[in-house]
Assembly symmetry: C3
Homo-oligomer: 260 residues x 3
């Protein structure tokens, strides 16, 4: 059974996600029907870096060969190219605008979606999720060879921040709980980190600090995160997405008390 | 495999959608289990025209014979009738309060849900989604003949606006992105449209205007939409849902510059 | 086919729900794949009583033997225990922090999740939804005996309010529509109830009062609810969750007019 996940900024109040599901079920619904999995639909509208992080950190859990459609596509109908990407043993389908940036840092291959077996005959200018990307996913789930979707291309989509520098990281995502998630890996973090002018020791989990206190810890992606026990770090740290985080040898004495 | 989609205003924080899914899985879960598809659950509470547009424009993508449950039902337990409707080769289940208005402009047939094979023995006064509509969908998916649900009835649910007049349209939906979606079809739109006192030329897609500019274009439903590139048209156009849109021969010269 | 439902406070903008689904599909995805059902993901962050009510009132509709994962877990990584609970003929998986309180008022059995067949070899400190609970659900769906997950334990999680006193109830949930849902059962409610200083007669449904009026009625859980026709009761009644509701012999005369 093929698996197709959907990640969009379409929300759950309009019919756009439904239309995509309908296309997939109509075109790939028979013998055996693919499993259509909602991954996340409340990506902030047009927020490509948000989508890129969500897709990179969650799709890795899915079986090899699974198909992941990403439609955060403010440039729909314009110059950006629709692509199918092979990365990490899985297939990714969506616009080449940066949403696949974290996936393709290592070896990957990408094909422009041009072949009519992978898209509608008449493609609307504003809803490629329905007319291109859902159809590409359905085609792959039905056994089409993704490498026949179109010519091999180099991805040009980039995130606003460049590649990570060694011994430093960036805030790459702020989640629903207000946690600041960085790309600084555990192996480089050391005993403490400096972020937004504060130095925080790295502890194990929320209960290692008092309610309302800031903490740094190794998050579920294996990188440093900043949180507040029973609170929101994004309201306490004067740093935005893209901001720097540095390893620190240890928290200075004056910061080893409560972080309020 | 039967397909059952769910469209509600129940949101994703309460157990109402879950209870409906449980009923369907309990009653229709065996040999072969139906596919239950979330279509949209964040319809604004009680917003019948919103639901009507979402259902009409998305369910058309699903296979013939699919079953579409719509529970936006502020009059639950009152005088409105629960119905199963055959329209466009698909089955629709929900209250007769206008949610099916766009589907039934052409030929359709509707049956009141009265037979106990299509509803619970004891029906609560406030949750027909669980006690009537989920059960009707499960019954159809299990092979019951929908025309035996109850007597053939004429639908009485209407939207606040009447039938569209020729050579004019209405704003029928405002989506998550703030786009104003009208029911003026491409064939009648011409080169420009007048809406909220502004005349806008019809262009291809967002990238045909500068960031922050208003644009009119043919949307994914084949009708005129008004948007703002990287912005929200609903904050820029002094027009509400139900407001008029007219074809215009061409945008006047003073409006062919930036629309800010 | 096994059924696994997911109830979380992870929202639909991050990748946490997706990661859980990926784990389940990877570990339990073959011959026959379980049905993964989104129950509710917008539980307010960390709101254990909210989750407890949603889970108790919706999972009862699912077939016997179904598996229900609940991840509202502000104490993740701390002292609270991860458990699998047998209650009402179904399996429940999540933290022992009160989310199962309504389920376990009657006979139930609970096992701590310790065995490595029920969790990841390396468990992160902050995402037991992915590393423990999704894996436990996948293990049960794959045929593992839940009673081998770990030692039999007594649940210690409690809600902020104690057991209900006879002839009184509490507001236990406020839903998306602003309805105040109590745990006062129909059999004890009588002809009227007193709540927040007001006495309201119990009527049948919304249409039994005029638009904008308060009403008390028997809700879909079989308990008293307070609503406003075409409005929100939570903005009209000076009472919060946990507040008292009492049966009243009948509404006094001065309250039998409009409740505005």
């Amino acid at each position: 059974m093929a698996i197709i996940t959907l990640t969009t900024d379409f929300g759950t109040a309009d019919g756009y996600v439904g239309a995509m599901k309908g296309v997939i079920m109509r075109l790939a619904g028979s013998h055996p029907a693919p499993a259509i999995v909602d991954l996340a639909h409340d990506i902030p509208p047009g927020d490509i870096p948000h989508a890129a992080w969500v897709v990179a950190t969650s799709t890795i859990e899915f079986p090899l060969g699974s198909i992941h459609v990403v439609v955060v596509d403010p440039g729909v109908g314009g110059a950006r190219c629709g692509v199918v990407v092979r990365a990490r043993g899985r297939w990714y389908v969506g616009p080449d605008n940066g949403v696949f940036a974290y996936l393709t840092e290592r070896t990957s291959e990408a094909y422009a979606i041009e072949n009519e077996r992978f898209r509608a005959e008449h493609v609307s200018r504003t809803f490629h999720g329905r007319d291109v990307f859902a159809r590409t996913a359905a085609a792959i789930a039905s056994g089409e060879d993704p490498s026949t979707a179109g010519p091999l291309v180099g991805l040009v989509g980039r995130l606003p921040w460049g590649p990570r520098q060694r011994a430093a990281g960036r805030i790459v995502h702020i989640d629903r709980f207000g946690n600041l998630i960085t790309d600084l890996p555990e192996a480089e973090a050391g005993a403490a980190v400096t972020i937004g002018g504060l130095t925080l020791p790295i502890v194990g989990t929320y209960e290692d600090v008092a309610p309302g206190e800031l903490l740094a810890y190794i998050g579920s992606a294996g990188t440093v995160e900043i949180g507040v026990r029973d609170g929101r770090a994004d309201r306490r740290i004067p740093a935005a997405r893209g901001g720097d985080v540095f390893p620190a040898p240890a928290a200075p004495a004056e910061h080893q008390g409560p972080y309020r």
